[in-house]
Amino acid sequence: MADSDTPATITFVLNDPPYENARSTTAFRLIDTAIRRGFNVNVFAYEGAVALPFARQAPHANAVHGRDVASEDHPNTKDWIAALLAEAAERQVKLDWVNCGLCVDERGVAEAIPGTRRGSPADLAKFSEASRSTLVIPTR
């Protein structure tokens, strides 16, 4: 729990693209926990992680599972991020999600969900300076 009137801030640096490994889900768990414990959270999405909040992600039916799109009920990563943003708002803490703009341009994923924003490594420098700690979750 943040221990003053102003919530402490934690910064996460994410590196991995969606649907490749479990590190993004682990990062979401940590972000979720930090929000629920009253921390402000910064996220700097770098390299493939900028595709996590890509707005054009779409769920699909899954014939292998024998389910249509509704019953498959597949949350795309953009949906998890939207849920985290809503949770932060509800708990009156800040989740500031910044996508590295150059990485976005390289990958053609500029259409991010509302509540996230485009930025640059300069934002990471500011985030780190203003944070109690910065956790890098790198790609491997």
Binding site: N21, A22, T25, H65, R67, D73, D79
Partner: protein, 128 residues
């Protein structure tokens, strides 16, 4: 005649929560639906896919809950039901403390030394 394909799955639990399944197990089903005779060999950490009664439910972020978590043991059983063979490397299971009675029915243990003979049964062997 259908091409006989053995996929070796070694990278386990890589994106199973985000995908709600394992992409290679899923691909085996999808290729089988397209006419290929697909089979699996679980090795390394992937032998754990064969353990019964796994439960990956409960993931939730904020108000959004995952209602269809991955059920990889069930996906393996479904492949077996469709005529696929699912093998696992016995030593990879035993060094992880997985006993034969803990795996789902129908999985076939193989010894590492028997792999060359196993591979000769297939037209294609794909290592994922």
């Amino acid at each position: 005649m259908a091409e006989n394909i053995l996929s070796i799955v070694e990278s386990a639990y890589r994106a199973t929560l985000e995908e709600q399944d394992d992409p290679i197990v899923w691909l085996a089903h999808a290729l089988r639906a397209s006419g290929a005779a697909t089979h699996l060999l679980l090795r390394g950490n992937a032998v754990n896919y064969g353990v019964r009664d796994q439960d990956a439910s409960g993931l939730r972020f904020g108000a959004r809950a995952q209602t269809q978590p991955p059920r990889i043991d069930r996906d393996l059983l479904a492949l077996i039901d469709k005529g696929g063979e699912v093998f696992y490397i016995r030593d990879d299971a035993s060094i992880r403390g997985i006993r034969p009675d803990e795996v789902i029915p129908g999985l076939k243990p193989v010894k590492t030394t028997d792999l060359p003979a196993l591979f000769r049964r297939f037209d294609r062997v794909w290592h994922w």
